[in-house]
């Protein structure tokens, strides 16, 4: 448990202070070209590159071979635990810890406790999913390197870090140009 939490904390810190790594970026003005480019880049054997866009791109996941997010499982597990906690807590407080005669009802009046259980299910589910989103995307992050400010507005980019498998500076530059990139540059991300 303790190691795990340490691990998490370390990762969190590294994320926040992550100043990125060197690599090559190609920038497009049309999202469809980008999806195309991503596909080609992947075909060309490059693994571990990243696509940056101002909004979620249709088909980019297939293009880059990104699997379906696993977060629903987190939601499910925490949702259930929320429900269970609700049940246990209401039972323990009203029937065990300090039972009080109320309205002639039994100490453990389950029907009355269901709303609590339900709300806790939702609460735990929702918060856990958002938490895991932040965790996975490494948020929050302080002043991350920016390839181009317009990437959150109307431009789209591919970035291949030096460390990526099959990284070849010249080849990638040519590839991006051939794929109609408006701009290709060495950068840090």
């Amino acid at each position: 448990m303790r190691e795990a939490s340490m691990g998490i904390i370390d990762k969190a810190i590294s994320c926040i202070s992550d100043k990125g790594q060197d690599g090559i970026a190609g920038i497009w003005d049309d999202e469809h070209k980008l999806v195309e480019a991503a596909k080609k880049t992947r075909d060309s054997g490059v693994v571990g590159f990243e696509a940056i866009s101002p909004f979620p791109l249709h088909g980019i996941d297939e293009a880059m071979g990104i699997p379906l997010s696993f977060i629903p499982w987190v939601t499910f597990v925490f949702g259930l635990s929320g429900c269970a906690f609700g049940l246990w807590f209401t039972w323990w407080t009203s029937a065990v810890n300090w039972p009080i005669l109320i309205g002639g009802k039994p100490m453990f009046s389950l029907p009355a406790f269901i709303p609590i259980m339900f709300e806790l299910t939702i609460l735990f589910g929702a918060l856990s999913s958002v938490a895991s989103l932040f965790f996975i995307c490494g948020l929050p992050r302080v002043e991350p390197p920016v390839i181009d400010p317009d990437l959150t507005s109307h431009r789209f980019a591919l970035f291949v870090p030096k460390t990526a498998k099959g990284f070849d500076k010249q080849r990638l530059m040519d590839l991006f140009k051939s794929l109609g990139a408006d701009e290709v540059k060495e950068t840090r991300f």
Binding site: I100, L101, I102, G103, G104, K105, P106, S109
Partner: protein, 1021 residues
């Protein structure tokens, strides 16, 4: 009073004589005991708080150490030296007496750490047998009335006695000046009926010493009764009306349950005849306004006040001339006098043959029936005649000597307007130099038309022994401020031979002095000394009076001192012997009178209310916020109109009207009263005080001022009235939102016949089912039964509860918003046709439901169920969501909308330390007097015995004159409540909600042919 003794086994309340005489503490104090004003016994250095504290502590010390056998010593001793008898937190009980102006009650005063906090009935006393009236309860708050004068006052009057600059004066100075004045002689006393034999003797002997005359007056006049007795039987008495011996009671414009003479005693007796069995009495009421008596009637007829005589004559005619009942039959005078009343039904607007029928019924109960009449509403010119006819009828029916006993008459209502007019004559012929007024407030209670106020201005010196500078005090020259009764010694003779003592239960709060002590001081000053007038103080006087006047009459009483202590203990000495008087009616009286009252188309009558009576307690907020048992209105008096007249005059509730009556025109709000006779306007007395205090000044109209002197009589009814509706409206504050049951099963009524056939046959029991198994209550389980058949609606319980539980009053403005705080309320519903409405009363307390809806919805568990079945309210946990109140089907919960706890000094002293004062924003409600339960439980544990039935009595139960409320442990099969609870005629209120209340109601049984409709369709099984 062994019942109180075994109720409160520890500590003993009055030390035995030996003890206190041996007690060193006492001996020490007896030496340096001095009699002077409490203030002078204090060292000026102390701050108020400590002085007050010490004073109280000292008082309790004195009281308890001496067992109230001596005048409390003003020796101040802190509780560091706790007297053996006083255990902090344990209440002490002192038997005493209370006289409300007409009725004497044996009371027991509960004190805590030396301050009286509650008055309860003395079960030993034959008059009220523990029963109480709302006013008797409220009386305690007058002790703590912030508007009381705190010392003797002197008014610097000018010649005309109009300007009125008041200065404080020391007692010595006052005595000196008064004595000087008294030396001039020509002293007159104007007092209320003095029911205290010792005081009476004191005044008499003082008067004779200074060559003065005494005059008595009653603010609420009853003189007609005595007059009638004189004419009919030749003796000047108020006989005893033995309602408990009557099987048929006919009350003609007589409110014996509410306000006439001795209502508490009457209710006691009445309730004894109301057990629903073959001996159940029948109450027939013929009246103009809807009185409390009328609302308890089995059968009720409406006539105008001015027709009272016609009705009675008509009845006498039927009995005497037609049915030839009784001995007077032969008498020619009577026969002829009655002739003209052969056919009065139509004239009175009654169904043909009604009177004949009543005559039939009542004739079946010769010697065990009772006809009652009189009261302010018959205070017309015929007042006396009415009494005479009533007496005739009682004699005819042979009730004289059985239900009407004159052998040991009531010691009340000796006053008369004749004496007042005599006094005024005396003043006119300058034969009054000094007028001493005591116990009455004539300037307020007498109409200006009587000329009394004017006469008072012509008296050189007026001494008013009152407790404040009120209306009369304003006209007086000296106000030797008197003690409150709870601060003073005294005695009481309720009816001939029934004596009781009144003992002080607290050190006087202020620099006041009892009237009796004043007289003694002045007597001393005058140097005149008869045997007793020489007494050192009033207490000595009282003792010596009892020694010489009462003690000798008592057989085997032991030494006087023993007798004295015992009488203090039990509070009553009953020397009344078996009353076997029988008097014969003087036919002569009959021919003497003619009917004098005209029957105006619209007539005004004055009436006293249960709450305020003559207004002597008007400055007690409890009584101002006391829902009138009939109208349920508070904080006002008003003109009551019948529904018919309201239609005619296009009146609506609260519409202002101007009423022109004998020359005066007064404006006031209209109240539309179902069941009131047409052509009658009622107006309550006791309101419209101008100098009574901050609470009562300017509340309502002074109806006394409408009374009319007529020779030696003061008319209070039968005035021709012209009513003109005004455009203005006025808010009348009521505590009851709606007056009919809408056909819901709320109060279940049965006729006696139905009841005899199948008790509770009229109760509709719904089929119930529940998804929970009920909780078990293995130990005790508290429950209550309320007998609607016994309940008269007198509302004594309501005030008892208010006094016991520190319940605040909120004022008219907030009552209008429904924010009154009463934990116990009495719902009053009208039944049948509104014009001729019947009435049912239903006391509502917290039902302490097993399945309490309030508990389920409280988010913070501030109201929960105890394992003894009570529904507890945890004030300090309550955050005030008011959800519980919304979900309570009985709406018994009260919310503290503002902070009501910070009351004006010294009202805080009236608080019961056993009951939490609730702060702003919390909910409160009836607790079943849980503090009493806990007290008794701990007492029982301390003396390790089982709690037995009757140990715990709730405040309401204790004060109920008709024992309608029974409380106890329902798990004890032998407890009275357990026996009653399961009976077929008991029902749960709103049973269909399955709240399983711990309070059950006994059906209302009417000794009548049928029950009036409850509105909409009826429930029937």
């Amino acid at each position: 009073m062994e019942n109180i003794n075994d109720l409160k086994p520890q500590p003993k309340y009055w030390m035995s004589l030996e003890q206190w005489t041996q007690d060193p503490e006492f001996l020490k104090m007896a030496e340096n005991e001095f009699l002077s004003s409490p203030l002078s016994s204090e060292d000026g250095k102390d701050g108020w708080a400590r002085r007050e504290f010490l004073k109280l502590m000292g008082a309790s010390l004195a009281l308890t150490t001496f067992g109230c056998v001596r005048r409390p010593a003003e020796k101040i001793i802190p509780y560091a030296k706790r007297p053996v008898e006083v255990v902090p937190g344990i209440p002490d009980y002192y038997a005493s007496s209370y006289f409300d102006g007409a009725e004497g009650l044996g009371i027991v005063v509960q004190t805590r750490e030396g301050r009286p906090i509650k008055i309860e009935g003395n079960t030993e006393h034959p008059a009220n047998e523990g029963g109480m009236s709302a006013r008797a309860h409220a009386h305690i708050l007058k002790l703590y009335d912030p508007d009381r004068a705190t010392g003797p006052l002197k008014n610097l009057q000018n010649e005309k006695k109009t300007n009125n600059q008041t200065v404080n004066i020391t007692w010595d100075k006052l005595d000196q000046e008064v004595v000087e004045q008294l030396k001039k002689g020509k002293v007159a006393f104007l007092t209320a009926t003095i029911a205290s034999p010792a005081t009476k003797e004191l005044i008499q002997s003082f008067a004779s010493q200074v060559g003065g005359k005494t005059y008595e007056m009653d603010e609420i006049p009853y003189e007609a009764v005595r007059e009638g007795q004189k004419l009919s039987y030749g003796d000047d008495v108020v006989p005893q009306y033995r309602i408990d011996k009557a099987k048929y009671i006919l009350a003609v414009n007589n409110d014996f349950i509410g306000t006439w003479l001795t209502p508490v005693a009457f209710q006691k007796m009445f309730s004894k005849t109301r057990n629903p069995d073959e001996n159940m009495s029948k109450l027939t009421v013929v009246e103009s306004l809807l009185s409390l008596t009328g609302s308890n009637a089995d059968e009720r007829f409406r006539i105008k006040p001015s027709q009272t005589l016609d009705f009675l004559m008509g009845l006498a005619y039927q009995l005497n001339n037609v049915m030839k009942v009784g001995g007077a039959t032969a008498n020619a005078d009577i026969l002829s006098a009655l002739k003209e009343y052969a056919q009065v039904d139509a004239r009175l607007g009654l169904k043909e043959g009604t009177i004949a029928r009543i005559a039939e019924e009542i004739a079946h109960h010769r010697g065990e029936s009772l006809v009652l009449s009189g009261g302010m509403t018959t205070g017309g010119k015929d007042a006396v005649a009415i009494q005479v006819v009533t007496n005739l009828i009682n004699s005819i029916l042979g009730n004289e000597g059985t239900t009407v006993l004159a052998g040991a008459p009531l010691n009340t209502a000796r006053g008369s307007y004749k004496q007042v007019s005599d006094l005024m004559k005396a003043i006119k012929d300058k034969s009054v130099e000094t007028l001493i007024i005591y116990g009455v407030n004539p300037t307020y209670a007498l109409p200006e038309a009587s000329g009394f106020q004017e006469a008072l201005r012509n008296v050189p010196v007026v001494i008013y022994a009152g407790d404040r500078k009120d209306e009369t005090g304003f006209q007086a020259d000296y106000i030797p401020t008197v003690h409150h009764e709870l601060e003073n010694w005294g005695d009481l003779e309720t009816s001939q031979g029934v004596f009781s003592l009144q003992q002080p239960t607290i050190q006087p709060l202020y620099d006041t002095r009892s009237f009796q002590d004043s007289l003694l001081a002045w007597a001393k000053g005058l140097g005149k000394k008869s045997a007793r007038l020489g007494s050192e103080n009033w207490h000595e006087y009282l003792k010596s009076y009892w020694k010489s006047e009462i003690y000798p009459k008592v057989s085997k009483a032991g030494t006087f001192d023993n007798f004295w202590v015992d009488s203090l203990k039990s509070g009553v000495v009953n020397l009344a012997k078996k009353d076997s008087s029988h008097r014969s009616f003087k036919a002569a009286s009959f021919s003497t009178f003619k009917k004098r009252d005209a029957v105006p188309e619209m007539e005004l009558v004055l009436y006293p209310t249960v709450g305020l009576r003559s207004g002597e307690l008007a400055n007690v907020s409890w009584m101002q916020e006391f829902p009138d048992p009939v109208t349920k209105l508070v904080w006002d008096n008003y003109f009551t109109f019948s529904i018919g007249d309201a239609k005619k005059l296009k009146l609506s509730q609260g519409r202002m009207v101007s009423v022109k009556v004998n020359g005066q025109t007064i404006e006031g709000p209209a109240h539309i009263q179902p069941g009131q006779a047409e052509g009658v306007v009622g107006l309550a007395v006791g309101y419209g005080r101008t100098r009574g205090g901050k609470v009562c000044d300017g509340v309502g109209i002074n109806a006394f001022n409408l009374a009319q002197p007529d020779g030696d009589q003061l008319l209070t009814a039968g005035f021709k009235a012209e009513v003109t509706p005004l455009s203005k409206r006025y808010d009348l504050a009521t505590t009851q939102g709606h007056n009919t049951m809408e056909g819901r099963q709320i109060v279940v009524e049965e006729t006696l016949a139905q009841f005899m056939k199948k008790p509770g046959g009229q109760i509709h029991h719904p089929k119930m089912m529940t998804m929970w198994s009920e909780h078990k209550y293995p130990g005790r389980k508290w429950a209550m039964t309320i007998d609607l058949n016994k309940c008269t609606g007198c509302s004594a319980c309501l005030t008892a509860c208010q006094s016991e539980n520190n319940i605040p009053t909120v004022g008219k403005k907030y009552v209008l918003q429904g924010r009154e705080m009463h934990w116990l309320r009495i719902d009053r519903y009208y039944t049948g046709e509104p014009e001729d409405a019947g009435v049912v009363n239903q006391p509502i307390v917290c039902m302490h439901c097993d399945n309490a809806p309030c508990e389920t919805v409280c988010p913070v568990a501030a109201t929960t169920h105890s394992d003894e079945g009570t529904n507890d309210m945890i004030y300090n946990r309550c955050v005030g969501t008011r959800y519980c109140s919304n979900n309570c089907p009985y709406k018994v919960r009260r919310f503290n909308w503002f902070s009501y706890t910070d009351v004006k000094q010294p009202l805080n002293l009236a608080m019961n330390p056993e009951v939490t004062v609730r702060n702003r924003g919390v909910m409160e409600k009836c607790t079943f007097c849980i503090h009493r339960i806990k007290f008794e439980e701990s007492q029982a544990k301390m003396h390790d015995r089982e709690l037995k039935d009757g140990d715990v009595k709730t405040a309401c139960q204790e004060s109920c004159p008709t024992n309608a409320i029974i409380f106890g442990n329902i798990n004890d099969p032998n407890s009275e409540v357990a026996k009653r609870f399961k009976q077929p005629m008991m029902y749960d209120l709103l049973e269909e909600l399955n709240t399983k209340p711990s309070v059950r109601y006994h059906t209302k049984v009417r000794n009548a042919a049928q029950i009036k409709s409850h509105g909409k369709e009826e429930h029937n099984t």
